[in-house]
Symmetry: C2
Subunit: 152 residues, 2 copies
DNA sequence: ACAAATTTAATGTAAAAACATTTGATGTCA
DNA sequence: TGACATCAAATGTTTTTACATTAAATTTGT
């Protein structure tokens, strides 16, 4: 359904307002889909995102600051998110040798294995997005970049 | 910046993954912008969204169920959101005459006045989005609709 | 070298969200 | 009608988020 039907609104003030509302609506749609999937593995969306960031660095460690920088939603409690992941043995925390303020976080084998399993699930539901051609998906990304002010 | 630079990731598995991450990232960017603005008026983003829904119906009432249906992020505590708005005299709650399970919610004059003020602020920051042409904004909306499976 | 400022991560706390349950009202159908 | 299912809204509870503060380590400037 188009965004007007979905939220039962007649018209938007401008194409920009419409785009903003549509981004938020679509984001929620995506988060719900993804969370439902992750729930079965007892991982939250935020935890999943942190795990992916850690895998991106593996086998190198990354500091808590580094995680925050890369997170999709910035927020202050990366520290506590890491706590949760440690409880599940998905990551380990290690004092950073050259700066004792910092803490290195590294994904464990168990964490990597979980991610591998989740990847399969992910690609499964991502097929649901193939109503868009690959070119259209790229155009979408490009428009979002431009919206945020990407000069690219 | 393009999404790769923003989150410091080299490459995405597919244009679809990239689009999904970009939607979430952009959503967060938008929410932060908007929340910062609303904070000055002591209104949360969710409360603002509910107020806009109520204005869309004004002068007709709408039930709590009706609000949930139209909310950008569905969630269970519309009831408590309405509580908060009542405390600020921005809405009133009234028993529904023909079905006593339901509760009608109506925006007050004070609520409408606040929205009018917020609208000005909104259009101010929305100019920040004009790096996109109106046509591009519409294309963006259309691609999002299609992504969600809109047959239009 | 040393006081002051800054940085990093952790923690305390209040508000909000997620999720389940409850309560009261209406609809269904044998 | 009356038992049962369903629905709307509110409420209880736990987890997560937002925001501020703290504590320790490092950097900066004199």
């Amino acid at each position: 359904m188009s965004i007007e039907q979905d939220i039962q609104q007649k018209a938007f003030k401008s194409p920009y307002t419409k785009a903003v509302v549509n981004i938020m609506y679509t984001n929620n749609w995506l988060c719900t889909l993804q969370s439902d999937l992750l729930k079965r593995y007892d991982v939250t969306l935020q935890q999943y995102n942190v795990l992916r960031i850690l895998r991106g660095q593996h086998p190198n460690p990354i500091t808590v600051c580094g995680i925050i920088e890369r997170m999709l939603d910035k927020m202050s409690n990366a520290s506590r998110l890491v706590d949760k992941l440690i409880l599940k043995d998905l990551v380990i925390r290690r004092e950073c040798p050259h700066d004792r303020r910092q803490v290195d976080v590294i994904i464990t084998d168990k964490g990597l294995a979980l991610l591998a399993e989740l990847d399969n699930q992910q690609s499964e539901w991502e097929t649901a997005l193939h109503k868009l051609t690959p070119e259209e998906a790229l155009t979408l990304s490009h428009l979002l970049d431009k919206l945020r002010g990407s000069t690219e």
